[in-house]
Amino acid sequence: MRKVYVDTTAYFTKDGDIFPLKFVWEDGRKYTVDKVLDKRKAASLKVGGQGIRYTCRVLGKEIYMFLEDGNRWFIEGK
């Protein structure tokens, strides 16, 4: 599996939380995050990385989005 960094639009709450809203996949397609189901610190052993892991529902599927070191977003690609 590959580590795919993505351009992301995120929502910053007034309490200091961050949530992803949209992201652009490497082929240019844009996706909307329908819902964030879970948020926790975690490591990705599959692609190699660590950060805050958001379990997101996108087009009816559950995916993980990682916020790495507070400034970059990556997704576990096929």
């Binding site: 926790r40 610190k41 975690a42 490591a43 990705s44 052993l45 599959k46 692609v47 190699g48 990385g49 660590q50 070191d69």
Partner: protein, 455 residues
């Protein structure tokens, strides 16, 4: 309220320790089991967490392709820092690769060893993340190097359950949240907790209690004990003390004769009577001195080279003094020749200072007084100690030009500003341009070695 309580606790422990040592000094023969029965009532719960093969584990996490191979993190060969800093378990167990070996030695044992350069900023991030996890259980955390820490969870057991339960939870969280592993020792003193974290690796908890320490700890070789280095080990081995149990069961008076006051400390450690508290300490520690040393890319052969290197080091030391708002009074130098013989010398400045030129010139004058150039120099260091906060009141001199000092200080601060915005090499001394090979920025290109002994 809580802080007050803990301070009292520490005092209480110290008090007991002092009465105890006093008794020993007066020659009471040791009926210690009885003496310490009183202390046992308020037994502490201390954890020692050790991130397993830390640097290598982080590298393996970030690069899944090398995870199943023997991996070592090592300094750069070109810059002559080519020693193994950490190796993963496959390299250690499968090929017998040891920390501190040269890369070529390791390659002889294992030709397909994957050697990766260190990435300190990443390791510091992980070290901080681990500390955040510890912090959810206690505020009494004492870091020991970048990858180890003691935690006093005595008070937290009321909230989170036994020490073992907290240890298991910390291990689970480090595994899931950070993707690396830790081994944790749980005990009633710091020494046994540290030994516990080394008994079973990786990702395991070892509990050492007053009931089982004889079975678990006393079997270990005496060299595993804190403070038993090569020299002490040799002395102990000579008299037949090979395990920690041998040490614990030796008469105290005998050990004192053999090792001086260290004999007493070691005996106390081996018997589990260590009462030293867990001190709140970040991995940077309390600053007592600021220094830099470096193995230079080529050997230094003359005074000119040495003077240049002192300027390189002094600039970095002075910058860090200013960053932490310190001035120093004493300058120490460290010189090691190409046959690895080394000297350390120090001298006082006329006045407290953080001006790099004053540090460098002082260092150079110490050097001129103490070095006879029998051999070329391989590594060189400069250290500033005897620190005071920079904005404290100073005694002015009647004979020096006191107006010049603030000007020099302002100049140095301006250089800091310029370097912060445009990079280290944007402003430089003319002297440093004479040899580009030796010129470097020790602050950023610094090598942090894992700490494995008491500082």
């Amino acid at each position: 309220m809580r802080i007050g309580l803990q301070v009292q606790n520490t005092n209480f422990h110290n008090m007991l320790y002092f009465t105890f040592t006093k008794m020993l000094n007066r020659g009471y023969n040791i009926n210690t089991e009885h003496q310490f029965a009183k202390v046992k009532k308020m037994e502490r719960v201390i954890l020692h967490s050790d991130l397993n093969s830390f640097y290598a584990s982080v590298e393996c996490l970030y690069n899944p392709a090398i995870r199943d191979k023997p991996v070592a993190v090592a300094g750069s060969v070109e810059r002559r820092h080519g020693i193994i800093l950490t190796a993963n378990i496959i390299a250690k167990k499968g090929y017998g690769i040891k920390v501190g070996e040269a890369i070529w030695q390791a390659r002889q044992k294992c030709s397909d060893l994957v050697v990766v350069p260190p990435n300190y900023s990443l390791y510091i991030r992980f070290s901080k993340e681990a500390r955040e996890i510890y912090r959810t259980y206690t505020d009494l955390i004492e870091s020991f190097g970048i990858d180890e820490a003691w935690l006093d969870v005595t008070e937290s057991t009321k909230l989170f359950g036994t020490g073992e339960k907290i240890a298991d939870e910390i291990r689970r969280r480090i595994r899931e949240e950070l993707g690396i592993t830790a081994s944790v020792g749980v005990s009633y003193n710091k020494v046994f907790a540290k030994l516990g974290s080394e008994i079973k690796k990786p990702d395991a908890t070892t509990v050492i209690t007053p009931e089982n320490y004889r079975d678990l700890v006393w079997r270990l070789p005496v060299s595993d004990l804190l403070y038993v280095g090569r020299a002490t080990f040799r002395k102990l081995a000579k008299v037949g003390i090979l395990t920690i149990g041998d040490l614990a069961n030796s008469p105290l008076s005998f050990l004192k004769r053999l090792l001086g006051k260290w004999g007493e400390y070691l005996w106390t450690f081996a018997n589990g009577y260590d009462t030293s508290p867990v001190v709140k300490l970040d991995y940077e520690g309390v600053i007592k001195g600021i220094g830099n040393s470096t193995t230079t890319p080529r050997d230094l052969g003359n005074d000119k080279d040495v003077r240049l290197m002192f300027y390189v080091l002094a600039e970095s030391v002075a910058e860090r003094l200013r960053r932490h708002n310190f001035k120093c009074r004493t300058v120490q130098i460290y010189i090691r020749d190409n046959e690895l013989k080394s000297i350390e010398r120090q001298a006082k400045l006329k006045d407290y200072s953080f001006v790099s030129r004053e540090l460098a010139e002082k260092a150079f004058s110490i050097f001129k007084d103490n070095w006879t150039w029998e051999r070329p120099i391989r590594s060189i260091g400069l250290r500033a100690t005897d620190l005071v906060t920079a904005d404290t009141y100073m005694q002015l001199s009647m004979f020096d030009d006191e107006n010049k000092k603030p000007k020099l200080e302002k100049l140095e601060s301006s250089i800091d500003d310029i370097r912060r915005r445009f990079g280290h090499y944007s402003v430089q001394r003319g002297l440093l341009l004479t040899d580009s090979m030796l010129n470097c920025n020790p602050i950023e290109e610094n090598v942090i070695f894992p700490v494995s002994y008491f500082r």
